[in-house]
């Protein structure tokens, strides 16, 4: 084969080395995704990554291993997988570890086309599984990186196949590419790199991303019941302390974690004037060392379990002070299976129909299992109320007191638990003494008791994250803490308040969740961090509602319906907030995109198109009117001169910019490829094109061709030739 212009391109061995490099990069990217997964494979990933990097740097290494090792590799992987499957309780981690081993095997062994495609598929498997299980923003980045590598990889495979067709190579020649030095190879890559092709490739990749975005938006969505989901095949450990049992110290551990626990997006932030309490778990049963969700409450939750996508909160028609518009919650995996609720709501909506456990009396909503991925849900008609209406509670309490549940009926909700605190004569004696200190021996209503108890606690105990409980016999930790002057943190204050209220005969319970958060300065949503974890108490007012009591120093002491604080919202405009806003965009636009939003988007597009068309039309009409008015004004010499001068100035500026751009371009090209760029040849080419357009055939064409293509020694004087070309063109014009 011969070509007119000698191509600058990689030969077969260099292409093979490039393919090896891209294959390794592909494997590394796919292994990177495993870091997002919470499975026991990080050591394996580390080893696999190190080995892949080693064979990337020294591609001749696999050739030095005895063939027996390669033959035994696949059986060894199969045996390892069988053993892993036997010992591991979950299926998916086993599959992921198998995929890691296979990626390692394929990445370090010399590959032909079939093995290359296998590597690609294994990498895609890891990426997709990690993406589905984590729904993280990192997945988007890695998927794009993987796509770029995969497209380049396939492109090189195709080139290798085309250039190697029919060629018979010796065994020595087959591995010649492994002996190419990296320095030479990089030099060759730089030599053959063509900026036009690189720009074209970048444009194409951008096109792919845009096209996939458009396809994502227009792919029709319809709801099919959730039939298969990978997170069923993996068990995840909870990272937060918000499970059914909270021991003293669980919440405080979270206070040291600055990671974002959830993000709350609302359509109208103007009405939110206080720091919301994000209520997660209600702990109604006291246990030495902490509080827990009672078995009866769990039973109530279990009995209330239904597969549903929507849940109505408040009865329809009740007038409330709604704030925030539509609240969308993005709760990070591992926070809790209980959904954070800031107050009463009209409608709770989830992305898919899922098994949902509810307890309306306790205003608890929980998923059956803790989600492996980000959980998203929406609340409509939210009211940030500190009270929780529960008119049935007195009736239930009376019923339980008159007809106590049987001991073997542990799963029946027992409201009497909200009156039980530390038991035993020593505990009770201390609590009685403290209650009388608080109340002064009088019987106080719940609100008044709450205020006094909070004041007493704040006067007696300071706030600190480290707690030293005095030693003692016969009394519980919380009682000893109450009786001391030791500082404490939110859990101790909330628990102390709860046991005091119970000792005073007021039903009370402990609640854990989050308090406050910061507004993201870029995308206008609430970032609630793990350090916002909080515990507070709820006390029954004796009539029809529970109200919130936050005895922790710095918190709102007793918040009732009429006591809405005017807290100024803190805004975060740091770089981390900017990065975090990308994550919310990812959640908003990608992860949480559904058929409803698809319809909304189409309607928005329609509205935008119509509005912008009308606006443009109006603007054009306005410009036209102004132009007419300007033209209709009386003209005199001065005005005419000014107008002409302005027009000429603008034209001259445009011409100057055009010339400067052209010269800059020429100089850049000359600097980039001085040997290939010649202004005389280029100008001759331009003139040839102009004369060809006018079909001029004169001697000057031959001279121009000589300037364009001929040897420099044979050139006529260029300026004279260009002048003659100009004259020839003018002659035709006339």
């Amino acid at each position: 084969m011969s070509t007119a212009a000698k191509p600058r391109q990689l030969n077969l061995d260099e292409l093979l080395l490039l393919k090896w490099l891209l294959g390794g990069a592909l494997a590394l990217v796919s292994l990177w995704t495993v870091f997002f997964l919470d499975i026991e494979a990080l050591g394996l990933v580390g080893v696999a990554g190190a080995v892949i990097i080693a064979v990337l740097v020294w591609p001749q290494l696999p050739g030095r291993l005895p063939p027996l090792i390669w033959k035994l590799s696949v059986p060894a992987i199969v045996i390892a997988m069988a053993a892993d499957l036997y010992f591991s309780p979950d299926t998916l981690p086993v599959l992921i570890r198998l995929a890691i081993l296979l990626v390692l095997y394929r990445a370090v062994a010399y590959r032909r086309k079939r093995e290359d495609l296998q590597l690609l598929v294994l990498g895609l498997f890891l990426i997709v599984v990690a993406g589905v299980l984590t729904v993280s923003l990192g997945f988007a980045f890695l998927l794009l990186l993987f796509t770029a590598c995969a497209l380049g990889f396939l492109f090189i495979i195709n080139l290798i196949e085309a250039s190697g067709t029919g060629a018979v190579r010796t065994a020595e020649a087959e591995t010649a590419w492994t002996r190419l030095g990296w320095r030479n190879f990089i030099g060759r890559l730089r030599a053959v790199a063509d900026w036009r092709l690189l720009v074209f490739a970048s444009v194409l990749f951008t096109t792919v991303v845009v096209m996939s975005g458009l396809l994502f938006l227009v792919i029709p969505r319809f709801e099919v019941a959730s039939g298969f989901f990978l997170d069923r095949y993996i068990t995840r450990k909870s990272r937060s302390g918000f499970s059914d049992t909270v021991k003293f110290g669980d919440v405080t551990e979270l206070l040291r974690d600055d990671g974002v626990a959830m993000r709350v997006d609302f359509t109208d932030a103007s009405g939110i004037r206080e720091e919301p309490y994000w209520r997660l778990v209600v702990l109604d049963e006291y246990a030495p060392g902490g509080f827990k969700v009672s078995a009866g409450l769990k039973g109530e939750l279990l009995r209330g379990q239904r597969i549903m996508q929507q849940l109505r909160g408040r009865p329809i028609g009740r007038k409330v002070n709604e704030v925030g518009g539509v609240w969308t919650f993005y709760v990070e995996p591992g926070v809790s299976r209980f959904l954070p609720l800031p107050g009463s709501y009209g409608l709770l909506r989830l992305r898919d129909p899922v098994p949902l456990q509810t307890s309306p009396g306790n205003r608890l909503v929980a998923l059956r299992t803790e989600s492996m991925t980000m959980s998203a849900f929406q609340l409509d008609e939210v009211e940030l109320t500190p009270t929780l209406t529960d008119a049935r509670f007195p009736q239930l309490l009376r019923q339980a007191q008159s007809d106590p549940p049987r001991i073997d009926d542990a799963f029946r909700y027992d409201p009497r638990l909200t009156l039980r605190g530390p038991e035993g004569p020593a505990n009770e004696a201390v609590l009685r003494r403290i209650v009388s200190e608080v109340t002064g021996g009088a019987t106080l209503p719940a609100e008044e008791f709450s205020r006094r108890a909070t004041a007493w606690l704040r006067a007696r105990h300071a706030y600190a994250l480290s707690v030293k409980i005095p030693k003692g016999e016969g009394t519980d930790d919380i009682v000893r803490w109450l009786d001391s002057n030791e500082p404490g943190f939110c859990e101790y204050f909330a628990a102390g308040f709860t046991v005091l209220a119970r000792a005073a005969g007021h039903p009370a319970r402990m609640v854990v969740g989050f308090h406050g958060g910061v507004l993201n300065g870029f995308e206008n949503y609430f970032m609630v961090k793990n350090s916002n974890a909080h515990a507070w108490a709820e006390i029954y007012d004796g009539k029809a509602a529970w109200f919130r009591a936050d005895p922790t120093p710095g918190g709102a002491a007793v918040t009732t319906q009429n006591n809405v604080g005017g807290v100024q919202q803190e805004q975060d405009s740091s770089w981390s907030a900017r990065v975090d806003s990308l994550r919310v965009l990812w959640y908003r636009r990608i992860v949480n995109f559904d058929s409803r939003q698809q319809v909304q988007m189409i309607e928005q597009m329609k509205t935008f198109t119509t509005d912008s068309g009308s606006a443009m039309k109006a603007q054009l009409e306005e410009i036209s009117k102004r132009l007419k008015a300007w033209l209709a004004q009386p003209w005199n010499a001065a005005r005419l001169g000014r107008s002409l001068g302005l027009g000429a100035g603008v034209a001259a500026l445009g011409w100057l910019l055009w010339r400067l751009t052209g010269q800059g371009w020429s100089r850049w090209r000359q600097w980039r490829r001085p040997a290939e760029y010649d202004p005389v040849r280029r100008t001759a080419g331009v003139w040839l094109g102009r004369l060809r357009q006018r079909e001029i055939r004169s001697e000057v064409v031959a001279e121009l061709q000589r300037l364009r293509y001929g040897r420099r020694e044979t050139w006529p004087e260029p300026r004279a030739v260009f002048r003659r070309a100009r004259m020839a063109r003018r002659g035709v014009k006339r």
Binding site: A5, V121, V128, G131, L154, N158, T165, R196, L204, F216
Partner: protein, 414 residues
Amino acid sequence: MNSSITAAATLDWDGPGAPAHARREFTWHALLWVMVFPRKRHRIALTVPGLFLMATAMGIGTAAYNTASNILFITLSLLLACLLLSGLLSWFNFMGLCWRVRPQGPWRAGHETLVTVEVQNRKRWLPTYSLWFELATQPRHIPEPEDGGKNLRMREILAAAEKYITRGRVYLRERMEPGGTALLDWGVKPTRRGEALLELGAVGSLFPFGFLKKNIGTDLKQTVLVWPAQVEYQWIGAMAAHTGSQGQRTARAGIGDDLLALRKYQQGDSHRLIHWKASARLGQMMVRQFAAESRDGFVLSLDSSATRWTRAEQFELLCSLAATLAEDLFAAGRLRGVILNGGILRETRRLRDVEAWLDELARLEFSENGGRTPSSAMRGGGTPPPVTHNVITFAPEGARGVTAYVDGRQTASA
């Protein structure tokens, strides 16, 4: 020349970027329609990786709908976008390409010859990668099966015809730069004498990712004449040759006494050959060139009548022997002329005269209408030509052989 082209248009470039390629006016609906219904002979087929990609996309799509997971939806849309990009790049790859086919040298049955595919990339910015060209050659008239194909099924008829077709594929292995030209050679060995059809069936590519195999069918066809095969024969002409024509002047350069022409001096020429007068007149050294003298020249007379040649194989051997004898005798300077079926004597003074004779032999068909019926079928005689001596005629020998006679005496056999 033995390669003649049936239509002048076929000499021209073909392909999307061919100068004469009819450019349709661009309209969006035409573009969309082409995507739905490709042009005639444009075929796009899925390869194994492409099939796998589609299966993966379908699997991920099913999982996406089943779980309503947007992660799977975005993966699906990325896969589909890659497929669209593949089609787009493939379109770019073929854009501005044109090609033509040029058969090289004489085509002779049983001898390898070359066909050159010339490809041009007329794009201004973008190169072209990894193409292949599917070429085929076959006799213009493929012999029908012995029983006329009445008892054969279509598949068997096609299989029988396929035996006469030689197919090949040439690859563009390197990148073709914008404005570049590539020449690709295909070696082919024609099997039969006669008119052959050389065809560029399709131009294909797996570019860019190997998901789709795109084929662009072409109408590039050329008719090429295949000369008869050269055969080995036994020459016993020394005892048969007549000496009457010795010393006759020929039109070829040689060492005779007659001046044939003047030519420029070349290094190694004898100084005695310099024509001083002409050299002085022209200002450069000229030398005399003398005509060669023929020795015992022969006339080849071929009678192709069906009454004489009843067996097709024997007829083919006749053509081959006549062609081989003509070339050998001309090379030895002993071929005076040729006569076909008792026609007029055509002298063979130049190489193109011999090539014209080979062309005639290539076109000679085995049939009852092949030639004039001879008046007498005497052994070694055939139709007596107007020339009187050193006439080589041909006659069957046995069931398979062919013998050449000079004035009735055996002079060669094959």
